[in-house]
Symmetry: C4
Subunit: 188 residues, 4 copies
C-alpha cells in the first residue's frame, strides 16, 4: 500500500518539457517535498513492520483501524502535490500538516486497538511502552497546524524536525530481527 502511495507521488514527478539541465530547476521544490513525504511514509513502513513482528492477535477493530490509517496515508499524495509548487503558502501548508497529524493519530488508534487485545507484559505492549517519539511527533504536528496560517515556513520546518527525530538511529532502530528465509513465492 505504501509503495502504491509512493507511486502516486512519483506520477507527479513529470519530466521537464525542455531538454537542457536548466529545465530541471523548477522541479527542485517538488522533489524536496517528495523526499519529505517519502521519509514520512518510510517511517510508517518501518514502524508498521516492527509492530507486526510482535502482533499476536487481531480483530475487526484492528482491521478497521488499519483501514483508517491507510485512508489518512492515502491523502498524502494530494497534500504533497499541492504543497510541492507552493512551499511557503499557508493553505497548502495547513492541509499538509493536517494530513500528517491525521496519519499520526490514526497510527495511535491502531496501537490502542492492538494494546486492547494483548496482555500488559506481551512483547507488543513492551515494544509500545516507550512512545516518546510518537508523542513528540503529534505535538509538533499540532504546532505545525496551529502555525500554518501565521508562519508557514516555521510550520513546514516542524515536520522536518519530526523526520530528523525518526531518521536518527536509536535503540529501536538497532533492534535486530531474526529472519526466517523467505519462501519462493511465484505468485507475485
Amino acid at each position: 500500500m505504501i509503495a502504491i502511495l509512493v507511486t502516486i507521488m512519483v506520477l507527479d514527478l513529470r519530466p521537464p518539457a525542455g531538454v537542457s539541465l536548466a529545465d530541471l530547476h523548477p522541479m527542485f521544490p517538488k522533489l524536496l517535498v517528495y523526499v519529505l513525504s517519502f521519509i514520512y511514509l518510510g517511517i510508517y513502513w518501518v514502524n508498521h513492520h516492527h509492530l507486526m513482528q510482535v502482533v499476536e492477535r487481531i480483530d475487526g477493530r484492528v482491521l478497521w483501524a488499519n483501514m483508517l490509517l491507510l485512508f489518512c496515508l492515502s491523502l498524502t499524495p494530494m497534500a504533497t502535490s499541492w504543497l510541492g509548487p507552493h512551499i511557503g503558502e499557508s493553505g497548502p501548508t495547513l492541509v499538509y500538516a493536517l494530513v500528517l497529524l491525521a496519519c499520526a493519530l490514526a497510527y495511535w488508534v491502531l496501537t490502542l486497538s492492538l494494546l486492547a487485545l494483548h496482555a500488559p507484559d506481551s512483547p507488543l505492549a513492551v515494544a509500545l511502552r516507550d512512545n516518546r517519539k510518537e508523542r513528540i511527533s503529534v505535538l509538533l504536528y499540532v504546532a505545525a497546524v496551529a502555525l500554518a496560517m501565521f508562519a508557514p515556513w516555521l510550520s513546514i520546518a516542524l515536520p522536518v524536525v519530526v523526520a530528523l527525530i525518526w531518521l536518527i538511529p536509536d535503540r529501536r532502530i538497532s533492534h535486530v530481527i531474526e529472519a526466517k528465509p523467505p519462501e519462493v513465492d511465484g505468485t507475485d
Copy 2:
C-alpha cells in the same frame, strides 16, 4: 488489489488550482464520495480477509469467481469519479448503485463457489451461515438501483445505510484472530 483501486480513486483527488483554503471547497463532494467508496472497498477487504481465514480448499471456479469480484470492484473508481462532481444526478447515481450491486452479487457467487467445496459443518460454512447483512445489503442496493432515476438523493442514501450497517461493530467484528508472527520477507 483493493489497495490499487483505492489508488485509482486517490489519483482523482487532484489538488486545487489556487493556493487559498477556499479553493478546497469544490473538493468536498468528491471527498465525500471517495470516503464512501473507500468504506465499501474496506468492507470487502475485511470480509474477504475473514473469509480467507476459514477457506480449506479452492478450485478453478473459486479463482474465476474471485476474478469476477475483482472485475466488479475495478469498476468502482470509474463510478466514483463520475458521481463525485455529480451527486444528485440520476445517471451517475444509477451507475454507482449498479456497480455496488454487481460487487455484492459477485461476492455472493464467490461464497457459493466456496460453500460447494466445503462440508456443511466446516468453519467456512458456519461463518457464512449468518448472512443477514449480506442479504439486506443486496436488497438496499436493488432499491437504490430502482430509485436512481426517480429519487437520486434517496438512492444514494441507501448505500450510506449499508455502509453504516457494516461499520457498526457486531459479533463478527469482535471475532479475534490468533496471528502467527509474520515472516520477515524482503521481497515486498
Copy 3:
C-alpha cells in the same frame, strides 16, 4: 503484477463528460475490449497460480522468463487502449494480436525453463503434459496476426474463441487445491 495491469486499463475507463445515461454509449466498445483483456490476464493469473502450486525449484533462467512474461503482459494495456476505440481497424488489431501472441510464447518459454529443472515424473511435468489448450491458443493467435491486415473483424474473433476455450470448465478447472489457512500478515 496482473492486478496492476488491470489498474492501468481501468485508468483508461474515464467517466463520460455529460451526466445522462446516453453519455455512456461511446464507452461500450472500450468496455468490451477491457472485458476481453481482463479475461486474458485472468487466464494467465489462474494458470500461473496452478503452475506455482507444483514448482519445486527455480533458477535465474526461470526468474528472467518470468520477467519476459511480465514484460509482454505489460504491453497489454497499451494495446487494449489503442484497440478500444478502434475495433475493426487493422493496425490496432494487428498490435493487439501480436501482444497476445507474445504473452503466449513467453508463457511457453517459462514452462520450458521450469521443465528443464524438474524430473519427467514430477507433478509439474505431469501438469504440463496436456498442453493442447496452450497449443491451440498459440495457433489461433498466429492466425489472428496473419489475418489482422485483411480481415480485422475475423482477426479479433479468434482471440475471443481462445478466451471461451479457457473459460469453459475442464478437468484442470475442476482440480481442487487443498489450502493451508493463510497467515495473518499485517504487512499488506
Copy 4:
C-alpha cells in the same frame, strides 16, 4: 514495488493518435528506453530476490537502506520518460545515468548494511564475496555520468553494456533454488 515502477513506465506508453501502423514509428525510441529500464529493474528484482534467500537477520538500518534503494528506483520512470523522446541529448542522458548510478550505490549500501549483521562465513557473506559485476557496473555508470555532456550516445551505450553483462548467464544465474510449494493465499 518494482512491479509498480514498471507500471508507471507503462503508463507513458500511450497508444498513438492515428490508427495506421505508421503511427507506431514515433513510439520506437520510447519503447527502446522502456525495454532498457525494464531490464535494469529486472536485474535489481533478480538480485534482490537472490539476496533475500540468504538473509538471516535485519535491523532498522537495513530497512532504511531498502527505502533508499526504493527511492532511487522510484526516480527511474521520470528519467526514462525524459530520455525516451530525447535519446542523444546530454541533459536527459546525464539524469538517466545519475539515477542508474544512484540505484547501484544504494544497492551497495544495502549489501553493506546486511554484511554488518552477518558472520563472514554466512551464506550471505559468501554470496556477496564475488562482487565483480557490481563493481564493473558502478564504474561504467560513473563513466556514463562523466561522458553524458560530451558524448551522449557513448554515455547511453555504457548502461547497455551493463545490461548485457547481467543478462548473460553465469554461475550465479545457474544457481538453483529449492522452492517450498507456495501456500494458497486468497488475499492477493
